[in-house]
């Protein structure tokens, strides 16, 4: 523990850390931007051979995607599935998160581990047995099957995100309301709900975004009319040459726009750094 002061701590003029931040930032922006823009340009290109930029621009791939890929139908299925998963996940997850944040009881550790395990295992691991089971129950291949499968990681995510959120809501507020004569129901509707809305909304949005991007479970359980965007995109990209790349990219743009809008909405509500780990100072 003798960190002897051999020399005075000198502040260098150039902030090396900031330089590093901007370097990595630049690299990430370059790669991600390159990927996004090449997909975007290609989706609007008449054709793109050899040159730096497409040979011309058109919107016909989007119109073709609507007829060939049944985009409206896929978007509808995606909306139903993601919203149902988020809705059910929140409805079941919020009470659980509240209890885990507020109460100490025997077996709490086991319940917490149980609610964490689905996030610690790759979806394929439990997805294959789950899909096999759902096929035997004859719900796989339907939207219900896809919703059920996607709930498995969604619910633990809601609990994981919201437990620290409820922890930081001061319990004194609830106690004060009780002392002032509010019934538990009134405490819930008038005190807890208003305080919890931002966190719950953000968790729901994060679940929607995750479900939108969840490939494995949807891939294993979806049928022809219960595909989400990401699975439809996979099938399109998996069989290149059958369709022009522009048409696949048009679909990718639809997917990208959908998830980006949702994510930006989520970011407006919460600062992601506070969602992951909450620290009391």
């Amino acid at each position: 523990m003798t960190l002897a002061a051999r020399r005075l701590p000198a502040r260098s003029a150039i902030d090396g850390g900031a330089v590093f931040v901007y370097l990595v930032l630049g690299a990430v922006a370059l790669v991600v931007g390159g990927i996004v823009f090449s997909v975007l340009l290609d989706a609007f290109a008449t054709s793109w051979f050899g040159g730096w930029l497409p040979d011309g621009y058109t919107d016909r791939w989007f119109r073709a995607a609507i007829t060939d890929f049944q985009i409206p139908q896929i978007l509808g299925a995606t909306a139903v599935i993601t919203l149902a998963v988020a809705g059910i996940g929140v409805a079941i997850g919020v009470p659980a998160a509240y209890v885990l944040a507020r109460r100490r009881f025997r077996g709490k550790g086991i319940i917490q581990l149980l609610l964490l395990l689905p996030l610690l295992l790759p979806p394929i691991t439990y997805g294959i047995p789950l899909a096999t089971m759902l096929y035997e129950l004859r719900v796989a291949g339907t939207m219900l099957g896809v919703i059920i499968a996607n709930l498995v990681p969604a619910l633990p995510l809601v609990v994981l995100l919201l437990t620290p959120f409820f922890e930081q809501i001061d319990p004194a507020l609830e106690r004060a309301a009780r002392v002032l004569g509010a019934s538990p129901r009134l405490v819930f509707t008038r005190v807890l709900v208003p305080l919890a809305v931002p966190g719950v909304l953000a968790a729901a949005l994060i679940v929607v975004v995750r479900t939108l991007a969840m490939f494995e479970l949807t891939f294993l359980t979806s049928g022809a009319d219960s595909q989400t965007l990401v699975v439809a995109l996979y099938y399109a990209a998996f069989a290149p040459g059958i369709r022009p790349s522009q048409q696949i990219d048009a679909m990718a743009v639809v997917y990208m726009a959908t998830s980006l809008v949702l994510l930006l909405a989520a970011l407006r509500i919460v600062d992601p750094t506070n969602m992951v780990v909450r620290v009391r100072r």
């Binding site: 850390g17 990595v24 990927i35 294959i128 047995p129 096999t132 709930l151 995109l233 990209a237």
Partner: protein
């Protein structure tokens, strides 16, 4: 020994906080979540485990372990484990190594922090499938990267980024980075800046402060980020198919499990491979999480809490 203890309990039910005598009804609120996880996660898992010991077709001759023997007995199948590990571990290591200093620096807000964070988060929304799709365009033989490399004259023919190990690794690096970064940023912003200042006042150099102060404080975060990143990269599937070479060097274990179950309709072997995959992955995750116990507990103990 036990008798007085039992009588004590009968007389006064000793809970940690004996505020209420009746069973707390709010505890029931956690029941739906527990039931759902039991029905949709634990039960299928047990079902899959049982299924994996009921070999199907030719494997039946080898007894209950037939599906496992089929997997481990086939060199090509066995190789899928190695193919997964050699993607997951480098991808995780590189992402954590890049995100760690970045997150540490960004814990003190710099101008445009919110925009920067949002920018890092974008790859997360894109998802592995879209990133792989975009890479086909961007990193392809006629893509911008190869055009730029050819124009500068670094290479004389297009670099093969796609349909091999490199392509899959790149796609994992991109899709995994945001989660690692955000998680570490959360931990970094929880470190009291006064500790760093104190060390600086006491004359610690930049390296000493990093090694003796910052890194031990960040260790729990590093452990969790590594663990979660391993979960994500270990289940690599779509990008291994789309930008990798699923018939060869990127025939990962998730693909092997899917192929057994859905192409050969051998649900027993599919489940067996899935269980093997889960076991290996959990071993890696717990190895990563054990870092946390080592570093953090000792530190807080020393801090005299």
């Amino acid at each position: 020994m036990t008798a007085p203890l039992a009588r004590d309990k009968a007389v006064a039910p000793s809970r940690p906080a004996p505020r209420r005598r009746r069973l707390d009804g709010t505890l029931l609120l956690v029941a739906p979540a527990v039931l759902l996880v039991l029905a949709l996660f634990v039960y299928p898992f047990v079902y899959g485990l049982a299924l994996s010991f009921q070999p199907y077709g030719d494997n039946e001759a080898n007894g209950p372990l037939g599906s496992y023997i089929a997997f481990f007995g086939d060199a090509r199948e066995r190789l899928s484990i190695w193919n997964t590990v050699r993607l997951a571990i480098p991808a995780t290591a590189i992402d954590v190594a890049l995100a760690l200093p970045l997150a540490y620096r960004l814990r003190r807000p710099i101008p445009g922090q919110r925009t920067l964070t949002a920018l890092f988060v974008i790859p997360m929304t894109l998802g592995t499938v879209l990133i792989a799709e975009g890479m086909l365009q961007f990193l392809g033989p006629a893509g911008w990267v190869n055009k730029a490399l050819l124009a500068i004259g670094i290479v004389h023919e297009p670099v093969r980024f796609l349909h091999n190990y490199l392509g899959t690794l790149i796609s994992l690096l991109i899709s995994d980075f945001p989660a690692v970064f955000l998680l570490l940023l959360g931990y970094a912003s929880g470190i009291d800046p006064a500790l760093d200042r104190a060390a600086r006042v006491l004359g610690a150099s930049w390296i000493q402060r990093t090694v003796r102060v910052t890194l031990p404080m960040m260790l729990p975060g590093i452990a969790v980020a590594t663990a979660l990143s391993l979960v994500a990269t270990f289940s690599v599937f779509p990008s291994a198919v789309l930008v990798g070479n699923p018939a060869g060097e990127t025939r990962v274990i998730a693909f092997a499990a899917w192929q057994a179950a859905y192409e050969h309709f051998d649900y027993s072997e599919g489940s067996a491979i899935a269980i093997v995959m889960g076991a290996i992955e959990l071993a890696l995750v717990f190895a990563a999480l054990s870092l946390r116990v080592g570093g953090y507990r000792r530190l807080t103990a020393e801090a005299g809490r």
